[in-house]
């Protein structure tokens, strides 16, 4: 049960707090995400990745252009579009378990899925901490809890903003595999922001490379490899080099702008 996302001619301009001017965060984005696709967004800091996710989630409105979800214009948030925030935002007044239950209750799935709560906690490796409150957890633990909280309600579209950023490489690889497994199981659509080129190649079917100031799509790269992928394979190597070059180029463009 996936979902499609159509982004047409999208631009987002923010009012700046410091000056009375405005700032163009996204410029003329065109992108269509296929049903059940795993897509990653790569790009330098500040190129508008989070903004794009927030617009798709319905937390932010486009300045120009439109975004369609399953063919319908997006109006506000909906539980069929989940978002794992860049800052792991657990509710501080709820325990790990309470946070997951909050998500299930709010999406009216609690009665049917309450038996799964413990499984999600185990998946996040937080079994011993299920009754702990967020302030008692490490940054990485909070991130994992926020990730499984979003996964537990199985949204048709899951937006992930650097969900594995705060984790050590071992835990990270583990959770990458779990993400893949869940995606293959639930057949939902995934759009994930990452700063890690390997992660993008390992997980996604397409990588969207963005360039900053203003945020634009520099190039969309297909990853034609079958799952599970081998990080040491030749194809992987070639793609890594290609994306690295692209991102360097994107950076140069940015520097030319700033000079």
């Amino acid at each position: 049960m996936g979902a499609t996302v159509e982004i047409n001619n999208l631009s987002k301009i923010f009012a700046r707090q410091d000056t009375s001017g405005t700032l163009k965060a996204l410029d003329n984005i065109d992108l269509s995400v296929r049903e059940g696709e795993f897509l990653t967004l790569l790009g330098a800091s500040g190129c508008g990745k989070s903004t794009l996710l927030r617009i798709i989630a319905g937390l932010e409105v486009p300045t120009v252009g439109d975004v369609k979800f399953n063919g319908e214009a997006i109006k506000g948030t909906d539980s069929s579009r989940g978002l794992v925030f860049q800052e792991h935002t657990l509710f501080p007044w709820l325990s790990v378990k309470g946070n997951i239950e909050f998500a299930l209750k709010s999406t009216k799935q609690y009665a049917q899925k309450k038996g799964e709560v413990d499984d999600w906690i185990s998946l996040a490796g937080l079994w011993e901490f299920k009754r702990n409150y967020p302030h008692q957890l490490s940054g990485g633990m909070r991130q994992r809890a926020a990730l499984v909280r979003a996964l537990s309600v199985s949204p048709k579209l899951l937006l992930l903003d650097e969900p594995l950023g705060a984790l050590d490489s071992f835990t990270r690889m583990n959770l990458q595999d779990e993400l893949l497994r869940l995606w293959q199981e639930q057949k939902n659509t995934m759009i994930m922001v990452t700063h890690d080129i390997d992660e993008a190649i390992y997980l996604s079917q397409r990588v969207v490379v963005m360039s900053p100031r203003p945020g634009r799509i520099a190039k969309i790269i297909d990853i034609p490899m079958s799952y599970p992928r081998n990080r040491a394979s030749g194809d992987f190597e070639v793609l890594r080099a290609q994306i690295l070059k692209l991102m360097n180029f994107a950076k140069e463009v940015q520097e030319e702008y700033t000079i």
């Binding site: 937390l59 509710f91 007044w93 709010s106 302030h135």
Partner: protein, 339 residues
Amino acid sequence: MESNISVRELKILEDAPKTKLRRTIDRVLSALPFVLAVDLILIYELLPNFKKYAANKIAYPVSNIYTVLLGAVAVALLIYFIVSLFSARAFEKLLFKAPLYCVIFLILGAYDFATLKTGILPLPYFPWVDRILMAIVEDRVILLDCIAHSLVLLFAGYFTGTIAGLATGIGAGWSPRVRYWVMPLMKLLGPIPSTTWISIILIIASSLFGGSVFMIALGVWYPVAMSAFNGVSNVDRSNFEVARTFGVKNVGLVFKVAIPAAMPSIFNGLTQGMSIACTALMVAEMLGVESGLGWYINWQRGWAEFAKMYAAVIIICLTFTAVNLVLTFIKKRALRWQA
């Protein structure tokens, strides 16, 4: 990971070790409250009373209520001390409290000496402790009745004020339109101490009880409304955004996010409101309502019964302390999640 070292062992591991002398002193200190409590009994029972009091047992009666009370305290302290010989935790707690207990007993002893034993501090202004206790026992039925009346009035006012305060404060914090109308009201009424209204209420209120409830509620309303307002308007926006991605909307956002997130601030208002409510209660009872502990004090003042007035003060202190303990307990439970 769960560590198998207990909190107690952790403290021993991390603290500097105590010297032998220090440990001996600590042990003696922990026994001292018991020793002083026994001394107090001995002074009270064995030291001869002031001649004038001893000569007239009818006008200046003494009982053994004080002895019984002190005896109970002494037994409790002895048990505590014995337990502390075996439980390191109990020992630490007892040691922490010991100096305080000792000073209290010394003050009680000095007071007894200055009143009952020597008459340096004269009657009727300075009744000795046993005399106050006798007053409590003698008037126990009426005092219990007064406690009940006071508590009913206190909580009727407190809950009314709390509900009104939460409604206006949360409403104003959440909705700009409610804020527009409520804020001027809060700014206007807020700085006026609610007891200011007592004379007006005494005249126009059709029932004194209702009027007093209103006055107490008004006093509670302001701090609760203010704290709920601040709490709700300062909730981190990201909490709402997360809830919205799970499909929570409007009223759901208020009850599932705004209120729980604002709880720490709300509890500050509830605590403040309670102390205002207690003040307002006393004013109401002393000036109008013909029942309750405040009224009792006033009534006894008319008879110059100082022992009974002090008795009521002690009862008031105990009652309000108990109420605040309950409130603190609820607060601690509700705010467990805080760092």
